[in-house]
Amino acid sequence: MPAKKKIPPVLEILRDNIVKHGNPLALKPRETSAWAKNLELPVKGDILFYTGSEYQLLPFIDSLVKTLKIVDPSSTIFSWLMEARKIVNMTGINAEKIYASILAKDKERYYSINYKAVHVLRKLGYDLCYDRQGELYSGALLYELGFWKDLDDYAQRVADSIRKTEAKTVVCISPHAAEMFRKVYPQIVDFPDVQVKTFIEMVWEKRHLLPKIPCDSLVVIHDSCRLARELDVSQEIRDILDEIGVKYVEPFRSKEWTTCCGGPSKMLFPDISKIVAGRRVIELSDTGAEKALISCPYCLSALQSEIDKGNGVILEDIIEFLYRGLEAQCQI
């Protein structure tokens, strides 16, 4: 089998940042936990609210991808740009963050999804904790990109960080994190004996407590690949919508046959990623629905860029949808 390969800088950077800084873009905990500052969530408790910084990372990743589309990631220029990373080591300034954040948009929206998720879960009676300082990114990208040796050590750190919270249940708002905790980590580390649940499953269990939400417009459900195929969670979304009285339609491909949003190839194949996303947006808008509901941060981000081109359907994370429903109980 193979000798070591020289791999694209963008992959090396993601790996280094996860291993050294606890998330793919080396964001500081004060940044990733800013959304929770007024929520007074305890660090320890029975139910750990786990963000993995995934929604927080989205605006930065989007900006990075825009940079990648301008500068060929396999080019010398890109390698040179990435050399700016050396400045980080000398000055403590994060280069990736500098150029990424220059272009960062939608930060407010993505950060607030965490807040809204907590709000919805609290309304349903869940008593949550959140480790603002100690929470680490789930490591899903290490797994996806093949950095399995790094993952062995990193998984232990994640496991330890969760163990410290003394939680009995971990609620993940990203299906990618849930997949890692439920299916991958138990195979490679001594993962804490916790129940791992997605946000959708937590809501589904107490869906009878949700109020009816008057909604005249038709919605379409986009199932995330990870949620529908890896975690077998798709009917739960329909049950929740049935419970709150929201009419929905299915796109041409749904549930276990759902179409990928293109997000996974954003970093290495940004052009292909956009076309895949665009085709999925067409599948969603072809239903005639006015709104598409998403339940994965990467799907939200990947599809949003194509929605912005005016495809006649509004994209909303199901967390945002439920939050607005609970707050307003109308005007959905």
Binding site: M1, K4, K5, F147, P264, F269, I272
Partner: protein
């Protein structure tokens, strides 16, 4: 140290170019739609198929575990059937056997075969001084176009009728209109005489029954019947992973293969056990009646046994080559065979690793996969491509 970064640069440009190609877009959109409709209709008409597929999966699991003994059994039976069986460990051995059997200066008609593509068979035979004709219509188009297959079952999926008309007009030196019926007709006329002039016919095989030595070839055009029936010599090139224990097993594998390849029933299923023979005169068995007098079966390994022995990857050898996964792959849908080399898309990257260039060649393909997993839903063998891709990626970046 090989440089994935550089390889990705060129590869990505090709992928991006393919994704913007109108011919590919139109052809793939039509093909995906037809495939889905046809499979849905075929499964509705034959609802026992998913259950049969489950049975076939077990047959394949057993066959992979017992491949060595099935190979020995099949080779022995083929010899008893008055055929001749060979085992080729790698490409070079396969070429040597072919060279010994065919030599040079021969006319050869050839059916479509992925193994043939893997071995670059036509080029090898042409370089040895033979005249070779691809007889599958799609492969014939690509032969004239000097192009490579863009789908394992529909190799010229990316070439619309207008372009076919241009290619044929130039080759046949007469105006061939962009009318599919006319295009098919002109090739039929041209190849018909080649079948009967040919010294050798070469085919692949979809499955081989070890107990009877019978080779099963599924087709629709009828070219394989002619390739394997008209010339005096028939050579079968088949991967060792195609072996199953019994003839009944082989029929089950064949039915599941064609059903997921979007056919209710194919036009032809060829079952070949030995050379053509007759006993009509005084009950004396005489070989070479109307069909080939000689039958040679070359079982090719070329990395397959390594794949079958690797716990993490042996399931890749269950692949029936129905091509269904590709129609469900969001990247393949927009890039066709540019997402791949000989073997295409996610499952193709695993096959590339073992039989067509190794991990270095497979690396760009491995990172193209979205690991979305819809291919697994479609696959009748439920081959977990995303898990194998993950493992291979870890090998790409490991120290």
């Amino acid at each position: 140290m090989s440089d994935l970064n550089k390889e990705l640069g060129t590869y990505t440009k090709n992928l991006n170019k393919a994704s913007q190609d109108t011919n590919i877009n139109n052809a793939m959109n039509r093909a995906v739609k037809s495939y889905r409709e046809n499979v849905a209709s075929a499964l509705e008409r034959y609802p026992h198929t998913p259950e049969l597929a489950e049975e076939v999966r077990k047959i394949k699991e057993y066959s992979i575990e017992h491949n060595e003994e099935l190979l020995a059994q099949a080779m022995e039976v083929i010899e008893k059937n008055r055929g001749k069986a060979f085992y080729a460990k790698d490409k070079e051995e396969a070429f040597q056997i072919l060279h010994d059997l065919i030599g040079t200066g021969k006319t050869i008609v050839k059916g479509k075969s992925m193994l043939g593509e893997e071995l670059q068979l036509r080029h090898i035979l042409e370089n040895a001084g033979n005249e070779v004709w691809e007889t599958d219509l799609g492969e014939f188009i690509l032969q004239l176009k000097d192009d490579r297959p863009m789908h394992i079952l529909s190799p010229a999926i990316h070439v619309p009728r207008e372009q076919v008309a241009e290619i044929f007009s130039e080759f046949f030196k007469k105006t061939v209109p962009p009318d599919i019926t006319k295009e098919v007709e002109v090739v039929r006329e041209f190849l018909r005489e080649k079948y009967f002039q040919a010294d050798v016919g070469i085919s692949g095989a979809n499955v081989v029954a070890a107990d009877t030595g019978q080779v099963v070839i599924i087709e629709n055009e009828g070219n394989v019947r002619l390739c394997t029936g008209a010339p005096p010599v028939h050579i079968v090139l088949v991967g060792i992973e195609k072996l199953v224990p019994t003839f009944l097993d082989s029929m089950k594998v064949a039915e599941v293969t064609w059903r997921y390849a979007n056919y209710t029933a194919p036009s032809y299923v060829n079952v070949i056990s030995g050379p053509s023979k007759t006993g009509d005169i005084e009950k004396v068995t005489t070989y070479g009646a109307h069909g080939p007098k000689e039958l040679y079966v070359i079982f090719v390994d070329n990395g397959r046994s390594e794949m079958m022995q690797e716990e993490d990857f042996k399931q890749a050898s269950h692949c029936l080559r129905c091509g269904g996964c590709m129609y469900e792959c969001p990247v393949f849908q927009i890039t066709a065979g540019h997402y791949g080399r000989t073997y295409l898309s996610g499952i193709g990257s695993v096959w590339t690793t073992f039989v067509d260039g190794g991990l270095d060649m497979a690396a760009p393909m491995l990172y193209t996969c979205l690991r979305c997993g819809r291919c697994v839903e479609r696959c009748p063998m439920k081959i977990d491509v995303p898990s194998m891709i993950g493992k291979l990626r870890s090998m790409v970046v490991s120290d």
